[in-house]
Protein backbone atom coordinates (compact mmCIF):
# COMPACT_ATOMS: atom_id res chain seq x y z
CA UNK A 1 0.00 0.00 0.00
CA UNK A 2 2.64 2.51 1.11
CA UNK A 3 5.10 1.16 -1.44
CA UNK A 4 2.65 1.52 -4.30
CA UNK A 5 1.74 5.03 -3.13
CA UNK A 6 5.41 5.97 -3.26
CA UNK A 7 5.81 4.49 -6.73
CA UNK A 8 2.73 6.28 -7.97
CA UNK A 9 3.97 9.52 -6.47
CA UNK A 10 7.24 8.97 -8.29
CA UNK A 11 5.24 8.52 -11.50
CA UNK A 12 3.44 11.79 -10.78
CA UNK A 13 6.82 13.50 -10.36
CA UNK A 14 7.93 12.12 -13.69
CA UNK A 15 4.89 13.66 -15.33
CA UNK A 16 5.91 17.16 -14.23
CA UNK A 17 9.30 16.82 -15.89
CA UNK A 18 9.85 19.56 -18.49
CA UNK A 19 6.43 21.07 -17.82
CA UNK A 20 5.43 24.68 -17.28
CA UNK A 21 4.80 23.85 -13.63
CA UNK A 22 8.47 22.96 -13.21
CA UNK A 23 9.81 26.00 -15.04
CA UNK A 24 7.43 28.31 -13.23
CA UNK A 25 8.89 27.00 -9.97
CA UNK A 26 12.43 27.81 -11.06
CA UNK A 27 11.66 31.17 -12.64
CA UNK A 28 9.22 32.16 -9.91
CA UNK A 29 11.79 31.46 -7.21
CA UNK A 30 14.45 33.56 -8.91
CA UNK A 31 12.14 36.43 -9.86
CA UNK A 32 12.24 38.67 -6.77
CA UNK A 33 15.91 37.98 -5.93
CA UNK A 34 16.71 38.71 -9.58
CA UNK A 35 15.06 42.10 -9.42
CA UNK A 36 16.85 42.82 -6.14
CA UNK A 37 20.13 41.87 -7.77
CA UNK A 38 19.50 44.41 -10.53
CA UNK A 39 18.69 47.15 -8.01
CA UNK A 40 21.80 46.34 -5.98
CA UNK A 41 24.00 46.50 -9.05
CA UNK A 42 22.33 49.55 -10.58
CA UNK A 43 22.12 51.75 -7.50
CA UNK A 44 25.06 51.08 -5.18
CA UNK A 45 25.02 54.76 -4.22
CA UNK A 46 21.67 54.21 -2.57
CA UNK A 47 21.82 50.60 -1.36
CA UNK A 48 25.34 50.36 0.07
CA UNK A 49 24.13 52.63 2.84
CA UNK A 50 20.84 50.75 3.35
CA UNK A 51 22.52 47.34 3.62
CA UNK A 52 25.48 48.42 5.70
CA UNK A 53 25.03 47.13 9.24
CA UNK A 54 22.85 44.11 8.91
CA UNK A 55 22.88 43.28 5.19
CA UNK A 56 21.48 39.73 5.28
CA UNK A 57 18.64 40.44 7.63
CA UNK A 58 17.72 43.47 5.52
CA UNK A 59 17.91 41.80 2.15
CA UNK A 60 16.02 38.74 3.35
CA UNK A 61 13.22 40.90 4.71
CA UNK A 62 13.17 42.92 1.54
CA UNK A 63 12.78 39.81 -0.62
CA UNK A 64 10.18 38.11 1.53
CA UNK A 65 8.07 41.22 1.91
CA UNK A 66 7.64 41.52 -1.82
CA UNK A 67 7.20 37.77 -2.30
CA UNK A 68 4.78 36.79 0.46
CA UNK A 69 1.92 39.18 -0.16
CA UNK A 70 1.31 38.60 -3.82
CA UNK A 71 3.95 36.65 -5.72
CA UNK A 72 4.01 33.52 -3.56
CA UNK A 73 0.20 33.07 -3.41
CA UNK A 74 0.05 33.74 -7.13
CA UNK A 75 2.75 31.15 -7.74
CA UNK A 76 0.83 28.62 -5.62
CA UNK A 77 -2.38 29.30 -7.55
CA UNK A 78 -0.64 28.89 -10.90
CA UNK A 79 1.52 25.88 -10.09
CA UNK A 80 -1.42 23.87 -8.75
CA UNK A 81 -3.47 24.52 -11.86
CA UNK A 82 -0.52 23.70 -14.08
CA UNK A 83 0.13 20.39 -12.34
CA UNK A 84 -3.51 19.35 -12.61
CA UNK A 85 -3.68 20.61 -16.20
CA UNK A 86 -1.04 18.04 -17.22
CA UNK A 87 -3.86 15.50 -17.19
CA UNK A 88 -6.57 17.69 -18.65
CA UNK A 89 -4.44 18.99 -21.49
CA UNK A 90 -3.24 15.56 -22.55
CA UNK A 91 -6.63 13.98 -22.03
CA UNK A 92 -5.06 11.45 -19.72
CA UNK A 93 -7.46 11.43 -16.78
CA UNK A 94 -9.25 8.45 -18.29
CA UNK A 95 -6.01 6.50 -18.36
CA UNK A 96 -5.24 7.49 -14.78
CA UNK A 97 -8.62 6.30 -13.54
CA UNK A 98 -8.36 2.96 -15.32
CA UNK A 99 -5.10 2.18 -13.55
CA UNK A 100 -5.26 -0.13 -10.56
CA UNK A 101 -4.97 2.82 -8.16
CA UNK A 102 -7.31 3.79 -5.36
CA UNK A 103 -8.95 7.19 -5.62
CA UNK A 104 -7.11 8.28 -2.49
CA UNK A 105 -3.84 7.33 -4.13
CA UNK A 106 -4.66 9.36 -7.26
CA UNK A 107 -5.79 12.35 -5.20
CA UNK A 108 -3.03 12.51 -2.64
CA UNK A 109 -0.02 11.52 -4.73
CA UNK A 110 -0.55 14.57 -6.92
CA UNK A 111 -0.99 16.73 -3.85
CA UNK A 112 2.38 15.50 -2.62
CA UNK A 113 3.94 16.55 -5.94
CA UNK A 114 2.39 20.02 -5.63
CA UNK A 115 3.75 20.46 -2.13
CA UNK A 116 7.16 19.23 -3.17
CA UNK A 117 7.23 21.83 -5.93
CA UNK A 118 6.25 24.55 -3.47
CA UNK A 119 8.98 23.45 -1.05
CA UNK A 120 11.46 23.29 -3.90
CA UNK A 121 10.44 26.82 -4.87
CA UNK A 122 11.08 28.05 -1.33
CA UNK A 123 14.52 26.41 -1.25
CA UNK A 124 15.38 27.95 -4.61
CA UNK A 125 14.11 31.30 -3.41
CA UNK A 126 16.45 31.24 -0.43
CA UNK A 127 19.35 30.12 -2.57
CA UNK A 128 18.60 32.84 -5.09
CA UNK A 129 18.66 35.50 -2.37
CA UNK A 130 22.10 34.36 -1.25
CA UNK A 131 23.44 34.02 -4.77
CA UNK A 132 22.01 37.37 -5.93
CA UNK A 133 23.44 39.19 -2.92
CA UNK A 134 26.87 37.60 -3.21
CA UNK A 135 26.93 38.26 -6.94
CA UNK A 136 26.09 41.93 -6.35
CA UNK A 137 28.87 42.03 -3.79
CA UNK A 138 31.28 40.73 -6.41
CA UNK A 139 30.26 43.53 -8.74
CA UNK A 140 30.41 46.26 -6.11
CA UNK A 141 32.99 45.64 -3.43
CA UNK A 142 31.37 48.27 -1.15
CA UNK A 143 28.63 45.87 -0.14
CA UNK A 144 29.25 43.96 3.06
CA UNK A 145 27.49 40.65 2.37
CA UNK A 146 30.79 38.76 2.41
CA UNK A 147 31.66 40.24 5.78
CA UNK A 148 28.62 38.80 7.49
CA UNK A 149 27.54 35.22 8.01
CA UNK A 150 24.45 34.07 6.14
CA UNK A 151 21.70 33.61 8.76
CA UNK A 152 20.69 30.11 7.66
CA UNK A 153 18.59 29.45 10.72
CA UNK A 154 16.52 32.58 10.24
CA UNK A 155 16.04 31.78 6.57
CA UNK A 156 14.94 28.29 7.44
CA UNK A 157 12.47 29.45 10.09
CA UNK A 158 10.89 32.06 7.83
CA UNK A 159 10.59 29.51 5.04
CA UNK A 160 8.86 27.00 7.30
CA UNK A 161 6.48 29.67 8.56
CA UNK A 162 5.64 30.85 5.06
CA UNK A 163 5.23 27.29 3.80
CA UNK A 164 2.64 26.59 6.48
CA UNK A 165 0.87 29.84 5.69
CA UNK A 166 -0.06 28.69 2.16
CA UNK A 167 -1.56 25.35 3.21
CA UNK A 168 -5.18 26.57 3.11
CA UNK A 169 -4.66 28.09 -0.33
CA UNK A 170 -3.22 24.81 -1.61
CA UNK A 171 -6.23 22.73 -0.69
CA UNK A 172 -8.73 25.31 -2.00
CA UNK A 173 -6.87 25.71 -5.30
CA UNK A 174 -6.34 21.97 -5.65
CA UNK A 175 -10.04 21.37 -5.34
CA UNK A 176 -10.86 24.12 -7.83
CA UNK A 177 -8.25 22.88 -10.30
CA UNK A 178 -9.61 19.35 -10.18
CA UNK A 179 -13.16 20.57 -10.46
CA UNK A 180 -12.77 22.71 -13.56
CA UNK A 181 -11.31 21.45 -16.80
CA UNK A 182 -10.69 25.00 -18.00
CA UNK A 183 -7.44 26.38 -16.65
CA UNK A 184 -8.81 29.93 -16.52
CA UNK A 185 -11.50 29.13 -13.94
CA UNK A 186 -9.36 28.08 -10.94
CA UNK A 187 -6.69 30.66 -11.72
CA UNK A 188 -9.31 33.39 -12.18
CA UNK A 189 -11.09 32.51 -8.94
CA UNK A 190 -7.79 32.29 -7.07
CA UNK A 191 -6.60 35.63 -8.39
CA UNK A 192 -9.93 37.29 -7.60
CA UNK A 193 -9.84 35.93 -4.05
CA UNK A 194 -6.25 37.07 -3.60
CA UNK A 195 -7.00 40.60 -4.83
CA UNK A 196 -10.11 40.72 -2.68
CA UNK A 197 -7.86 39.84 0.27
CA UNK A 198 -5.52 42.70 -0.53
CA UNK A 199 -8.37 45.19 -0.66
CA UNK A 200 -9.84 44.06 2.66
CA UNK A 201 -6.47 43.81 4.41
CA UNK A 202 -7.59 46.07 7.26
CA UNK A 203 -10.62 43.92 8.12
CA UNK A 204 -10.53 43.08 11.83
CA UNK A 205 -11.46 39.44 11.12
CA UNK A 206 -8.96 38.96 8.35
CA UNK A 207 -7.81 35.75 10.08
CA UNK A 208 -10.79 34.04 8.46
CA UNK A 209 -9.42 34.76 5.02
CA UNK A 210 -7.09 32.05 3.60
CA UNK A 211 -5.52 34.08 0.81
CA UNK A 212 -4.11 36.57 3.30
CA UNK A 213 -2.40 34.04 5.58
CA UNK A 214 1.03 34.49 3.95
CA UNK A 215 0.81 38.25 4.51
CA UNK A 216 -0.43 37.79 8.08
CA UNK A 217 2.39 35.41 8.91
CA UNK A 218 5.12 37.71 7.65
CA UNK A 219 4.20 41.39 7.67
CA UNK A 220 5.36 43.26 10.80
CA UNK A 221 2.06 45.06 11.45
CA UNK A 222 0.36 41.69 11.94
CA UNK A 223 3.28 40.28 13.91
CA UNK A 224 2.58 42.90 16.57
CA UNK A 225 -0.68 41.15 17.49
CA UNK A 226 0.23 37.51 18.32
CA UNK A 227 -3.37 36.53 19.08
CA UNK A 228 -4.37 37.61 15.60
CA UNK A 229 -1.61 35.54 14.04
CA UNK A 230 -2.55 32.54 16.20
CA UNK A 231 -6.15 32.76 15.09
CA UNK A 232 -5.02 32.90 11.49
CA UNK A 233 -2.90 29.79 12.04
CA UNK A 234 -5.83 27.96 13.55
CA UNK A 235 -8.19 28.83 10.71
CA UNK A 236 -5.47 28.04 8.19
CA UNK A 237 -5.33 24.49 9.58
CA UNK A 238 -9.13 24.21 9.61
CA UNK A 239 -9.46 25.44 6.01
CA UNK A 240 -6.65 23.16 4.87
CA UNK A 241 -8.08 19.96 6.30
CA UNK A 242 -11.71 20.75 5.62
CA UNK A 243 -11.35 21.74 1.98
CA UNK A 244 -8.93 18.89 1.31
CA UNK A 245 -11.53 16.44 2.57
CA UNK A 246 -14.31 18.16 0.62
CA UNK A 247 -12.15 17.99 -2.50
CA UNK A 248 -11.50 14.30 -2.02
CA UNK A 249 -15.13 13.55 -1.25
CA UNK A 250 -16.13 15.49 -4.36
CA UNK A 251 -13.77 13.37 -6.45
CA UNK A 252 -15.15 10.13 -5.03
CA UNK A 253 -18.71 11.23 -5.68
CA UNK A 254 -18.12 12.32 -9.24
CA UNK A 255 -20.25 10.33 -11.65
CA UNK A 256 -17.98 10.75 -14.58
CA UNK A 257 -14.25 10.36 -14.28
CA UNK A 258 -11.70 11.05 -16.92
Amino acid sequence: MVASFLLNTKAEFLKSKRTMAFWLTVVGAAFVPGINFISLVARPDRFVRVYKDNPWQQIINENWQVATVFILPMYVILVISLVVQIEYRNNTWKQVYTLPRTLADIFFSRFVVIHSLILFCLILFNASIVIASCAANLVHKQYTFFDHAVPWKRMFLISVKIYFSVLAITSIQYWLSLRFRNFIVPVGIGLALLITGLTIHSWEHLYYYPYMYPAISFLPNFEKIPSFVQKAQLFNAIWFVMVLLIGFFDLVQRKEKG
Binding site: S4, L7, N8, K10, A11, L14, K15, K17, R18, T19, I86, N90, N91, T92, K94, Q95, Y97, T98, L99, P100, R101, T102, R254, K255, E256, K257, G258
Partner: protein
Protein backbone atom coordinates in the same frame (compact mmCIF):
# COMPACT_ATOMS: atom_id res chain seq x y z
CA UNK B 1 -16.51 -21.11 -23.81
CA UNK B 2 -16.59 -18.99 -20.66
CA UNK B 3 -17.52 -15.37 -20.71
CA UNK B 4 -14.84 -13.07 -19.38
CA UNK B 5 -16.82 -9.83 -19.58
CA UNK B 6 -20.49 -9.76 -18.90
CA UNK B 7 -23.10 -7.09 -18.42
CA UNK B 8 -26.54 -7.89 -17.08
CA UNK B 9 -29.47 -5.62 -17.76
CA UNK B 10 -27.23 -2.63 -18.03
CA UNK B 11 -29.12 0.65 -18.23
CA UNK B 12 -27.74 4.11 -18.49
CA UNK B 13 -29.40 7.47 -18.94
CA UNK B 14 -28.26 11.07 -18.91
CA UNK B 15 -29.61 13.40 -16.26
CA UNK B 16 -31.95 14.80 -18.89
CA UNK B 17 -33.57 11.36 -19.01
CA UNK B 18 -32.17 10.55 -22.42
CA UNK B 19 -31.58 6.81 -22.56
CA UNK B 20 -28.10 5.81 -23.65
CA UNK B 21 -28.11 2.11 -22.81
CA UNK B 22 -31.23 0.02 -22.64
CA UNK B 23 -31.03 -3.43 -21.05
CA UNK B 24 -27.66 -4.30 -22.45
CA UNK B 25 -26.52 -7.90 -21.97
CA UNK B 26 -23.03 -8.16 -23.29
CA UNK B 27 -21.21 -11.48 -23.21
CA UNK B 28 -17.62 -11.52 -24.30
CA UNK B 29 -16.21 -15.07 -24.50
CA UNK B 30 -12.74 -15.78 -23.12
CA UNK B 31 -10.12 -15.76 -25.83
CA UNK B 32 -12.27 -13.99 -28.40
CA UNK B 33 -11.86 -10.86 -30.42
CA UNK B 34 -15.23 -9.33 -29.76
CA UNK B 35 -16.19 -6.70 -32.31
CA UNK B 36 -18.52 -4.23 -30.65
CA UNK B 37 -20.23 -2.68 -33.58
CA UNK B 38 -22.57 0.23 -33.87
CA UNK B 39 -23.02 3.60 -35.51
CA UNK B 40 -21.66 6.70 -33.80
CA UNK B 41 -23.68 7.58 -30.73
CA UNK B 42 -25.06 4.07 -30.31
CA UNK B 43 -23.65 3.72 -26.79
CA UNK B 44 -20.38 1.89 -27.47
CA UNK B 45 -18.10 4.28 -25.62
CA UNK B 46 -20.59 4.60 -22.75
CA UNK B 47 -20.58 0.80 -22.38
CA UNK B 48 -16.79 0.64 -22.40
CA UNK B 49 -16.50 3.52 -19.95
CA UNK B 50 -18.90 1.75 -17.62
CA UNK B 51 -16.85 -1.44 -17.89
CA UNK B 52 -13.75 0.49 -16.82
CA UNK B 53 -15.45 2.40 -14.04
CA UNK B 54 -15.05 5.77 -15.75
CA UNK B 55 -18.79 6.22 -15.50
CA UNK B 56 -20.76 5.45 -12.41
CA UNK B 57 -23.06 2.50 -12.98
CA UNK B 58 -26.76 3.33 -12.68
CA UNK B 59 -28.64 0.10 -13.12
CA UNK B 60 -27.69 -3.47 -13.94
CA UNK B 61 -24.60 -5.53 -13.26
CA UNK B 62 -21.04 -5.60 -14.53
CA UNK B 63 -18.95 -8.72 -14.15
CA UNK B 64 -15.38 -9.12 -15.30
CA UNK B 65 -13.41 -12.30 -14.67
CA UNK B 66 -16.49 -13.51 -12.79
CA UNK B 67 -16.20 -10.71 -10.25
CA UNK B 68 -18.38 -7.68 -9.65
CA UNK B 69 -16.67 -4.52 -10.77
CA UNK B 70 -17.43 -2.31 -7.76
CA UNK B 71 -16.26 -4.79 -5.20
CA UNK B 72 -13.08 -5.81 -7.01
CA UNK B 73 -12.20 -2.64 -8.91
CA UNK B 74 -8.43 -2.73 -8.36
CA UNK B 75 -8.14 -6.44 -8.88
CA UNK B 76 -10.07 -6.23 -12.15
CA UNK B 77 -8.26 -3.15 -13.45
CA UNK B 78 -4.94 -4.89 -12.87
CA UNK B 79 -5.94 -7.43 -15.51
CA UNK B 80 -7.25 -4.98 -18.12
CA UNK B 81 -5.46 -2.80 -20.61
CA UNK B 82 -7.47 -0.07 -22.25
CA UNK B 83 -7.51 2.60 -24.89
CA UNK B 84 -10.58 4.82 -24.77
CA UNK B 85 -11.15 7.35 -27.55
CA UNK B 86 -8.03 9.31 -28.46
CA UNK B 87 -4.69 8.03 -27.14
CA UNK B 88 -3.91 9.21 -23.61
CA UNK B 89 -0.30 10.29 -23.72
CA UNK B 90 1.89 12.83 -21.98
CA UNK B 91 2.93 14.73 -25.07
CA UNK B 92 5.85 16.55 -23.40
CA UNK B 93 7.48 13.23 -22.52
CA UNK B 94 9.16 10.67 -24.76
CA UNK B 95 7.57 7.37 -25.66
CA UNK B 96 9.81 5.63 -23.18
CA UNK B 97 9.03 8.08 -20.39
CA UNK B 98 5.33 7.61 -21.02
CA UNK B 99 5.75 3.89 -20.58
CA UNK B 100 7.90 4.41 -17.48
CA UNK B 101 5.07 6.32 -15.78
CA UNK B 102 2.71 3.42 -16.25
CA UNK B 103 5.37 0.85 -15.46
CA UNK B 104 5.82 2.38 -12.00
CA UNK B 105 2.13 1.97 -11.27
CA UNK B 106 1.91 -1.56 -12.62
CA UNK B 107 5.21 -2.42 -10.95
CA UNK B 108 6.36 -4.54 -13.84
CA UNK B 109 9.87 -5.31 -14.95
CA UNK B 110 11.91 -2.65 -16.75
CA UNK B 111 12.44 -5.03 -19.68
CA UNK B 112 8.73 -4.87 -20.39
CA UNK B 113 9.17 -1.36 -21.81
CA UNK B 114 11.46 -2.59 -24.57
CA UNK B 115 9.29 -5.64 -25.15
CA UNK B 116 6.12 -3.66 -25.77
CA UNK B 117 7.97 -1.05 -27.83
CA UNK B 118 9.20 -3.85 -30.02
CA UNK B 119 5.76 -5.40 -30.23
CA UNK B 120 4.21 -2.19 -31.56
CA UNK B 121 7.27 -1.34 -33.63
CA UNK B 122 8.28 1.87 -31.89
CA UNK B 123 11.83 1.11 -30.77
CA UNK B 124 13.29 3.67 -33.14
CA UNK B 125 11.04 6.41 -31.82
CA UNK B 126 11.31 5.48 -28.14
CA UNK B 127 13.29 8.60 -27.24
CA UNK B 128 11.29 11.03 -29.32
CA UNK B 129 8.73 13.19 -27.60
CA UNK B 130 5.20 11.93 -28.05
CA UNK B 131 4.06 15.28 -29.41
CA UNK B 132 6.24 14.65 -32.47
CA UNK B 133 4.59 11.31 -33.15
CA UNK B 134 2.19 10.78 -36.02
CA UNK B 135 -1.34 9.76 -35.08
CA UNK B 136 -0.56 6.17 -35.98
CA UNK B 137 2.48 6.18 -33.72
CA UNK B 138 0.50 7.72 -30.88
CA UNK B 139 -2.09 5.01 -31.29
CA UNK B 140 0.60 2.35 -31.19
CA UNK B 141 2.21 3.87 -28.10
CA UNK B 142 -1.22 3.89 -26.45
CA UNK B 143 -1.58 0.21 -27.29
CA UNK B 144 1.90 -0.40 -25.89
CA UNK B 145 0.76 1.23 -22.63
CA UNK B 146 -2.34 -0.95 -22.61
CA UNK B 147 -0.13 -4.03 -23.03
CA UNK B 148 2.55 -3.07 -20.54
CA UNK B 149 1.32 -5.15 -17.61
CA UNK B 150 0.47 -8.14 -19.80
CA UNK B 151 -3.28 -7.93 -19.14
CA UNK B 152 -5.68 -10.76 -19.92
CA UNK B 153 -8.19 -8.42 -21.49
CA UNK B 154 -7.75 -5.48 -23.79
CA UNK B 155 -10.54 -2.95 -24.21
CA UNK B 156 -9.95 -0.85 -27.30
CA UNK B 157 -12.34 1.89 -28.32
CA UNK B 158 -12.16 2.54 -32.07
CA UNK B 159 -8.43 1.88 -32.23
CA UNK B 160 -8.26 2.46 -35.98
CA UNK B 161 -10.13 5.73 -35.92
CA UNK B 162 -8.33 8.40 -37.90
CA UNK B 163 -5.57 6.10 -39.09
CA UNK B 164 -4.43 5.85 -42.71
CA UNK B 165 -5.04 2.56 -44.54
CA UNK B 166 -1.60 1.31 -43.60
CA UNK B 167 -2.12 2.14 -39.96
CA UNK B 168 -5.49 0.42 -40.02
CA UNK B 169 -3.98 -2.78 -41.40
CA UNK B 170 -1.08 -2.67 -38.92
CA UNK B 171 -3.39 -2.17 -35.97
CA UNK B 172 -5.68 -4.93 -37.13
CA UNK B 173 -2.77 -7.34 -37.58
CA UNK B 174 -1.47 -6.42 -34.14
CA UNK B 175 -4.86 -7.13 -32.58
CA UNK B 176 -5.02 -10.50 -34.31
CA UNK B 177 -1.48 -11.31 -33.28
CA UNK B 178 -2.16 -10.44 -29.64
CA UNK B 179 -5.16 -12.72 -29.68
CA UNK B 180 -3.51 -15.58 -31.51
CA UNK B 181 -0.06 -15.60 -29.96
CA UNK B 182 -0.70 -14.23 -26.52
CA UNK B 183 -4.24 -15.47 -25.95
CA UNK B 184 -5.60 -12.08 -25.06
CA UNK B 185 -9.32 -11.48 -25.06
CA UNK B 186 -9.93 -8.28 -26.97
CA UNK B 187 -13.05 -6.18 -26.85
CA UNK B 188 -12.78 -3.76 -29.73
CA UNK B 189 -15.40 -1.25 -30.74
CA UNK B 190 -15.89 0.08 -34.24
CA UNK B 191 -18.48 1.74 -36.39
CA UNK B 192 -17.21 -0.05 -39.49
CA UNK B 193 -18.53 -3.52 -40.14
CA UNK B 194 -15.87 -4.23 -42.76
CA UNK B 195 -13.29 -3.59 -40.05
CA UNK B 196 -14.91 -5.93 -37.53
CA UNK B 197 -15.48 -8.59 -40.17
CA UNK B 198 -11.76 -8.77 -40.85
CA UNK B 199 -10.64 -9.50 -37.32
CA UNK B 200 -13.46 -10.41 -34.94
CA UNK B 201 -14.41 -13.90 -33.86
CA UNK B 202 -17.54 -12.58 -32.15
CA UNK B 203 -19.78 -9.67 -32.84
CA UNK B 204 -22.20 -7.57 -30.88
CA UNK B 205 -24.26 -5.01 -32.72
CA UNK B 206 -25.55 -2.10 -30.71
CA UNK B 207 -27.93 0.56 -31.89
CA UNK B 208 -29.65 3.27 -29.86
CA UNK B 209 -28.44 1.58 -26.68
CA UNK B 210 -29.89 -1.82 -27.53
CA UNK B 211 -27.97 -4.94 -28.41
CA UNK B 212 -29.57 -6.07 -31.67
CA UNK B 213 -27.31 -8.99 -32.40
CA UNK B 214 -24.76 -10.96 -30.45
CA UNK B 215 -22.97 -14.11 -31.52
CA UNK B 216 -20.06 -15.51 -33.42
CA UNK B 217 -19.03 -14.16 -36.79
CA UNK B 218 -20.35 -17.39 -38.36
CA UNK B 219 -23.74 -16.80 -36.81
CA UNK B 220 -23.75 -13.32 -38.25
CA UNK B 221 -22.83 -14.73 -41.65
CA UNK B 222 -25.66 -17.26 -41.36
CA UNK B 223 -28.01 -14.47 -40.58
CA UNK B 224 -26.68 -12.79 -43.66
CA UNK B 225 -27.55 -15.77 -45.90
CA UNK B 226 -30.94 -15.99 -44.25
CA UNK B 227 -31.52 -12.46 -45.24
CA UNK B 228 -30.62 -13.09 -48.89
CA UNK B 229 -33.39 -12.68 -51.44
CA UNK B 230 -34.32 -13.92 -54.91
CA UNK B 231 -35.20 -11.30 -57.44
CA UNK B 232 -37.25 -12.37 -60.48
CA UNK B 233 -37.91 -10.15 -63.47
CA UNK B 234 -41.13 -11.17 -65.27
CA UNK B 235 -43.44 -9.90 -68.00
CA UNK B 236 -46.64 -10.06 -65.95
CA UNK B 237 -46.38 -9.18 -62.30
CA UNK B 238 -49.98 -10.03 -61.34
CA UNK B 239 -49.89 -13.41 -62.96
CA UNK B 240 -46.56 -14.19 -61.41
CA UNK B 241 -47.79 -13.25 -57.97
CA UNK B 242 -50.73 -15.60 -58.33
CA UNK B 243 -48.51 -18.42 -59.54
CA UNK B 244 -46.26 -18.45 -56.51
CA UNK B 245 -48.48 -17.18 -53.73
CA UNK B 246 -49.20 -20.58 -52.22
CA UNK B 247 -45.54 -21.60 -52.15
CA UNK B 248 -43.46 -18.51 -51.51
CA UNK B 249 -44.31 -15.57 -49.31
CA UNK B 250 -43.76 -12.43 -51.33
CA UNK B 251 -41.43 -9.87 -49.79
CA UNK B 252 -42.16 -7.01 -52.09
CA UNK B 253 -42.63 -5.94 -55.72
CA UNK B 254 -40.05 -3.80 -57.37
CA UNK B 255 -41.31 -2.53 -60.75
CA UNK B 256 -41.37 -5.62 -62.93
CA UNK B 257 -39.51 -7.60 -60.29
CA UNK B 258 -40.69 -9.85 -57.52
CA UNK B 259 -38.61 -10.25 -54.43
CA UNK B 260 -38.85 -13.35 -52.20
CA UNK B 261 -36.66 -14.77 -49.46
CA UNK B 262 -33.84 -17.01 -50.59
CA UNK B 263 -34.27 -20.51 -49.19
CA UNK B 264 -32.17 -22.96 -51.20
CA UNK B 265 -31.06 -23.76 -54.75
CA UNK B 266 -33.80 -26.33 -55.17
CA UNK B 267 -36.45 -23.91 -54.03
CA UNK B 268 -35.15 -21.33 -56.49
CA UNK B 269 -35.57 -23.90 -59.29
CA UNK B 270 -39.10 -24.65 -58.11
CA UNK B 271 -39.86 -20.99 -58.16
CA UNK B 272 -38.82 -20.77 -61.79
CA UNK B 273 -40.79 -23.88 -62.69
CA UNK B 274 -43.99 -22.54 -61.12
CA UNK B 275 -43.73 -19.34 -63.10
CA UNK B 276 -42.96 -21.06 -66.40
CA UNK B 277 -45.80 -23.52 -65.89
CA UNK B 278 -48.20 -20.60 -65.53
CA UNK B 279 -46.92 -19.05 -68.77
CA UNK B 280 -45.08 -16.24 -67.07
CA UNK B 281 -42.01 -15.19 -69.00
CA UNK B 282 -39.00 -15.10 -66.73
CA UNK B 283 -36.33 -12.72 -67.98
CA UNK B 284 -34.05 -12.94 -65.04
CA UNK B 285 -33.81 -14.80 -61.75
CA UNK B 286 -31.02 -13.86 -59.41
CA UNK B 287 -30.02 -14.40 -55.80
CA UNK B 288 -29.13 -11.09 -54.26
CA UNK B 289 -26.55 -11.71 -51.58
CA UNK B 290 -27.21 -9.33 -48.81
CA UNK B 291 -23.74 -8.23 -47.81
CA UNK B 292 -22.94 -7.58 -44.19
CA UNK B 293 -22.91 -3.87 -44.73
CA UNK B 294 -26.51 -4.01 -45.92
CA UNK B 295 -27.39 -6.39 -43.15
CA UNK B 296 -25.92 -4.00 -40.63
CA UNK B 297 -27.95 -1.15 -42.04
CA UNK B 298 -31.05 -3.34 -42.00
CA UNK B 299 -30.51 -4.44 -38.43
CA UNK B 300 -29.88 -0.95 -37.23
CA UNK B 301 -32.77 0.49 -39.24
CA UNK B 302 -35.34 -1.71 -37.50
Amino acid sequence: MHTIIETQHLHFAFQTGQKILDDLNLQVPTGSIYGFLGPNGAGKTTTLRLLLGLLKKQDGDLTLFGQHFQRHRLHILRRIGSLIEQPSLYLHLTGKENLEIFRLTYQCDKNRINEVLKLVGLQQAANKKAKNYSLGMKQRLAIAIALLHDPDVLILDEPTNGLDPNGIIETRELIKQLNREFGKTILVSSHLLSEVEKMATHVGIIHKGKLLFQGSLQQLQQLQSQQSVVEIEVNDITKAQLAIKDHFPLKHVHGSRLVVDYESRERSALLNKLLVQQDVEVYQLAVAQNDLENLFIQITAQ
